[in-house]
């Protein structure tokens, strides 16, 4: 078991290494000189050279790469010229916004997916099943940015139920004291119910928008798993013991159906937390996605490199965590057959 884990870990490290090299090379492969972009089109050549020196672009590539990698570990993630702050500062400032949004989007997607997948499979009603499948297809095919706009139009503009795209809080609300950087949690912890409610209201529309595609994906996955499992022989056996439909479903079918979705869910969660460029733009959400888009457009290496590396690490970490979790939960993995 240890050997397998070590094997996986080394594979993971190699993937991260590959990603870092890839990100590094990638940003430098393309035409365009970021130093020039920063000092502006009217600057003199000396100014450009000076800027390059400051940014360390004059050193040989492998030195630059080493500084990059070393910097990751020491916390020096570079300077984000496009934003005027260190990369670290920017990312740390924006990560909680994306993370909170991603978390709520995931919760929405997951809970709704479970409910609908159950509805589709519990009793054999073809039209319910067909409708839910149709909804999942539509959900996967809807461009999230467009959906966000439609949703804003209807719920905020026309019906006025939810606030418009003014970010995480309304213009008149001050953020709660910082514990977790999650506005909803912090506000509740500080007893600021009004603020919490405002934060929640602002979260609703973007969370639904962001969660639409994950919901569609999850509901299909869960439905397929539930269908497969409910046809398994052991379900018939459980019923033959005299158990009712719901106990058989909830105690036996659901756990077995959830297991294969663990990996997918974990990855989805990681993806959601690392920010969505499109949704954040539509809702003016001060998250990482917006930062990344700007950085790419301005060829701000430092930010993109760091972000890519961090998301590679996150991806690998989540994969690893899910594998471990799997090993703990699924008895077939946890206890190998000793024959």
């Amino acid at each position: 078991m240890i050997r397998a884990a070590a094997g996986k870990l080394s594979g993971a490290l190699m993937a991260i290494f590959g990603a870092s090299v890839f990100a590094f090379i990638f940003m430098r492969v393309f035409p365009g000189n970021p130093a020039r972009l920063i000092v502006g089109p009217l600057a003199s050549n000396e100014a450009i050279v000076q800027q390059e020196k400051t940014m360390g672009l004059d050193k040989p590539l492998w030195v630059q790469y080493w500084r990059y990698i070393k910097g990751i570990f020491t916390g020096d993630w570079g300077f984000a010229y496009s934003a005027g702050e260190t990369v670290k500062h920017e990312i740390v400032a924006r990560l909680p916004a994306s993370a909170e949004l991603g978390l709520y989007a995931f919760l929405f997607a997951f809970v709704l997916a479970v409910i609908l997948a159950l509805a589709a499979t519990y009793r054999h009603r073809p039209w319910v099943d067909g409708t839910i499948r149709g909804v999942s297809f539509l959900g996967l095919g809807t461009p999230p940015f467009w959906f966000g706009l439609i949703v804003l139009l209807l719920f905020s503009q026309v019906w006025g139920i939810f606030p418009g795209p003014d970010g995480r809080l309304g213009p008149n609300t001050t953020p709660p004291p910082t514990y977790t950087h999650f506005y909803t949690i912090d506000a509740v912890a500080a007893g600021q119910w009004g603020t919490a409610w405002d934060a929640l209201r602002h979260l609703m529309l973007p969370a639904i928008t962001l969660g639409l595609a994950p919901f569609a994906f999850l509901v299909r996955l869960l439905r397929a798993n539930l269908l497969d499992v409910s046809r398994e022989n052991f379900i018939v056996v459980v019923r033959s013991k005299g158990l009712g439909r719901w106990p058989a479903f909830s105690h036996h079918a659901l756990p077995n159906a959830f297991l294969p979705t663990l990996t997918a869910s974990g990855l989805l969660l990681a993806q959601l937390i690392s920010g969505s460029v499109l949704v954040e733009k539509v809702f003016n959400w001060p998250g990482i996605g917006a930062l990344i888009v700007d950085s790419i457009l301005r060829q701000d290496f430092a930010v993109v490199q760091t972000f890519v590396l961090l998301s590679a690490v996150a991806y690998v970490a989540v994969n690893f965590a899910v594998d471990v979790l799997y090993g703990v939960i699924d008895p077939r993995v946890r206890i190998p057959v000793a024959r």
Partner: protein, 302 residues
């Protein structure tokens, strides 16, 4: 000695019944499956609009006519006009052509590249396999939209570079899929059996491996088609895809962005609907393609 076992209780093992079902299956699926019918019709409609639109709706998608700007949908302009008076319907049709073309190209070329990489990796093994797969993993570690954006920015904004960027993000999926399929099939008992019966390697490849691999590829390709269209629109939305004034659906949505909340909803809504219909139809077809081609079912008993 027991009688030969039929497929399952109640179906009967009558070979005539089985043959009938095998040949006519695809057609039966198409005829009975309403969702698939709708999807195919919708996609066909979009294709017609894209290819034949200019023939029966000759309005110029780029024709500026500030005098008739921001007009709501009417018989003269079924989808209204945008901020500089261009006919949204004409732009929609052109957008359909663009999206469907780019989608097809991305899928085909990506499948070729990715498929070849995957097959080579799976068939060769060894260090080449490792190298190829690590590269694929490195690409996969990039959030796909970010990667596509980076490529587009780096190589200059435009449809071609956008397509290239999108294609790059899809290659690892094909590669991994094909590689695992090749590995799986190589070790299947019936390959050994065919070998034992004296079939030559090429024959084994052609009769057993290739059809299976092709159907797997087709299914993946159908799904990627939808993803490509969606991502192209996303890039357009961010301003990285087609250049102004090309009427790509994503850029059209961005055009309509500011007008959404002021009441001229048609500029942004229709192109979004186009994306939605195209991608959903592609997903449904991909899903049904899996059922019809049935690669797991056919080989399930192996």
């Amino acid at each position: 000695m027991e009688a030969p076992v039929g497929r399952a209780e109640g179906w009967g093992g009558d070979p005539l019944v089985r043959a009938r079902r095998g040949a006519g299956r695809a057609f039966v699926f198409l005829a009975r499956d309403r969702a698939l019918g709708i999807a195919v019709t919708a996609l066909a409609l979009l294709v017609c609009l894209g290819l034949l639109g200019p023939l029966f709706w000759p309005n110029d998608p780029l024709g500026i006519d500030v005098g008739s700007s921001l007009l709501p949908p009417s018989s003269a302009h079924p989808m209204g006009t945008d901020s500089v008076g261009r006919d949204v319907f004409a732009r929609f049709n052109e957008g359909a052509r663009i999206s469907l073309t780019v989608g097809s190209v991305v899928v085909i070329v990506g499948a070729l590249f990715g498929g070849v990489i995957g097959i080579v990796a799976g068939a060769t093994g060894g260090w080449l396999d490792g190298l190829l797969m690590r590269t694929m993993d490195a690409i996969l570690a990039f959030p796909p939209l970010i990667l596509a954006m980076a490529v587009t920015v780096g190589l200059g904004s435009g449809l071609r570079t956008a397509g290239l960027g999108i294609m790059l993000t899809t290659i690892p999926y094909y590669a991994r899929l094909l590689r695992s399929e090749v590995l799986r099939i190589r070790s299947l008992p019936f390959i050994e059996a065919a070998h034992a019966l004296g079939a030559r390697r090429m024959r084994i490849m052609a009769r057993h491996i290739v059809p299976h691999v092709v159907s797997t590829l087709l299914i993946q390709a159908a799904a990627v088609f939808g993803y490509a269209i969606l991502t192209l629109a996303a890039l357009g939305f961010v301003g990285l895809g087609a250049r102004v004034p090309t009427p790509e659906w994503g850029t059209m949505i961005t055009d309509g962005l500011q007008f959404f909340l002021t009441g001229q909803w048609w500029i942004g809504v229709f192109p979004g609907l186009g994306v939605l219909i195209a991608v959903t139809a592609a997903s449904v077809i991909a899903d049904r393609a899996r059922d019809i081609l049935d690669p797991r079912g056919r080989y399930a008993h192996v």
